[in-house]
C-alpha cells in the first residue's frame, strides 16, 4: 500500500511536467517550483501549490490544468488543488532545468540568492551578453521585466527575482 502511494505520487509528478504556465509555455509548474507537495489519501490526490504572484490571472487556469492532468493519473479518482502561502514562493525555487527553459522562451532567468536592493545582473537570453539595460522593471506580466540587449539589439524579458523578505 505504501509502495503504491509512492508510485501514484511519482506518476502525478511526471504528469505535472505536462502542465505549463499559460503565459510561459516552455516551463512546467514543477520546474517553476510551484508544486509544494502532493498527498495521497485513498484515491484522492491533494496537491499543494504555491502561487507565483498573487494578482497573476493565470493562477485559476493553472489550478484547473493541474486538476485535469492529475485526474487522468491511474489510481486517482478525486483531486483537490490548494494554493498555500507558507513558506512563500520565491524565484530560488525555480529548478536549474526550469531556468534553461525560460531562456529557450527568450526570458532571462532570475539570479540565484538575490539580495533585495542590490542590482541584478541580467544576461541576454539570445546572445549571452551582459551588456543589457533595464527598460522597465514591470513587464507584460507581473513576474517579468523588460530589458534591452545592447549587443545583439534585441529587447527581451527577464523574470523578476522574488526573495523571502
Amino acid at each position: 500500500m505504501v509502495i503504491e502511494k509512492t508510485q501514484v505520487k511519482k506518476r502525478i509528478m511526471e504528469t505535472l511536467q505536462s502542465v505549463k504556465d499559460p503565459e510561459i509555455p516552455s516551463i512546467s509548474v514543477v520546474e517553476l517550483g510551484m508544486i509544494h507537495d502532493v498527498h495521497i489519501e485513498e484515491n484522492e490526490a491533494k496537491v499543494m501549490a504555491k502561487p507565483t504572484f498573487l494578482g497573476c490571472p493565470a493562477l485559476d487556469i493553472i489550478q484547473r490544468s493541474i486538476e485535469n492532468a492529475v485526474m487522468k493519473v491511474e489510481g486517482v479518482d478525486q483531486v483537490t488543488v490548494t494554493y498555500i502561502y507558507d513558506p512563500p514562493w520565491t524565484t530560488d525555487l525555480i529548478s536549474a532545468e526550469g531556468k534553461e527553459k525560460l531562456k529557450e522562451y527568450g526570458i532571462a532567468p532570475p539570479p540565484a540568492n538575490h539580495v533585495p536592493g542590490e542590482p541584478w545582473k541580467i544576461d541576454c537570453p539570445y546572445c549571452g551578453s551582459t551588456y543589457t539595460t533595464m527598460e522597465n522593471i514591470f513587464g507584460p506580466t507581473a513576474c517579468r521585466s523588460i530589458v534591452y540587449c545592447r549587443s545583439c539589439k534585441n529587447p527581451f524579458e527577464a523574470m523578476k527575482p522574488v526573495a523571502n523578505l
Binding site: G55, I137, T141, L165
Partner: protein, 273 residues
Amino acid sequence: MTFESIDDLKSNPEALKACKALLYQLADDDFLIAYRGSEWLGLAPHIEEDVAFSSINQDTMGHAVMYYQLLEDLGEGKADDLSHLRTPQEFRNAIILECKNGEGSYLEKPDYDWAFAVVRNLFYDHAKTIRLQSLKDSSYSPLSHIARKVIGEEYYHLMHWEMWFKQLMNSTPEARVKMEQAIEKVWDDFGGVLTLGPEGEKMSEFGLISEEDVLTNRWMEKIEPLFKEVDYQIDRNPELKQGNGRKGEHTEDLSQALDILSEVYRTDPAAAW
C-alpha cells in the same frame, strides 16, 4: 497568544471581531487604491508607465482578493460579494484612497493629477510595507502567511514610487509646485491610512498587528529622511480632514467608485464569474 487556525480564532469572539475589522481595512485599502490606479490605464505619462502602473494595480488587486478570501474563510460571505455588494458605509478604507484621480472622468475629459498619484501611492506603499512587516508576526497564522507573500511583491511597488517621487521633486519648478500641492492634499487625509480605527487597541492586544502609534512612528521614520533628501518639510501631523474611513465615514467619491466597480457584477450576481 497565537491563532493557528480559523477555529482557533473563532473560539475567541473578541479576537475574531478585531481580526475581521483589521482584514476589512487591509482589503478595502488595497481594493480602492488599485481601482483608482486602474483608472490611469492609457492615461499615464508614457507607455512604459502604463505597463508598470497596470502591473502594480494588478498585484494590489490580487492582495485585496487574498484579504477578502480570509474574510470569506471566517464566514463573512463570498469574497466577490464583500468587494462588490457592500454599501459605501460598510467600507473601512481610508478616505484618501477613494479620492478621484482629478477632474473629469475616465471616459470624458480625464484631467488627472499625476503628482497626486505619485504622492498617494508612495505614502501608501510605505504604510503598507510597515503594516506587512508587522503582520508577518501576526498572531493569526493565515494572515501572517499572506503578509510574507505580499511583501515580496510590494517591494517593487515601493521602489517604483520612490523613483518617481525623487525625480519629480527635483525636476522643473512647475513639477515641484504640483508635487508640493499633492503632498499637502495627501497629508490632509493620510491620518486615515495610519489609524487602525475603533478596534485598533483590540487588534494589538491580541497580537494581530502592532500598536497604531508604533506603526505611525515607523512611517514617519521613513518619510522624514525622504523629505530631507528632496529638501522639503512639513510642520504638522497627517490629518483626517474628510473623516475617518475606519468608522465608515466616506465621501461621494467612494460611492462613485463602487457604482462603476460593481456595475457588471450587480447586473447578475448569480452568474459564474
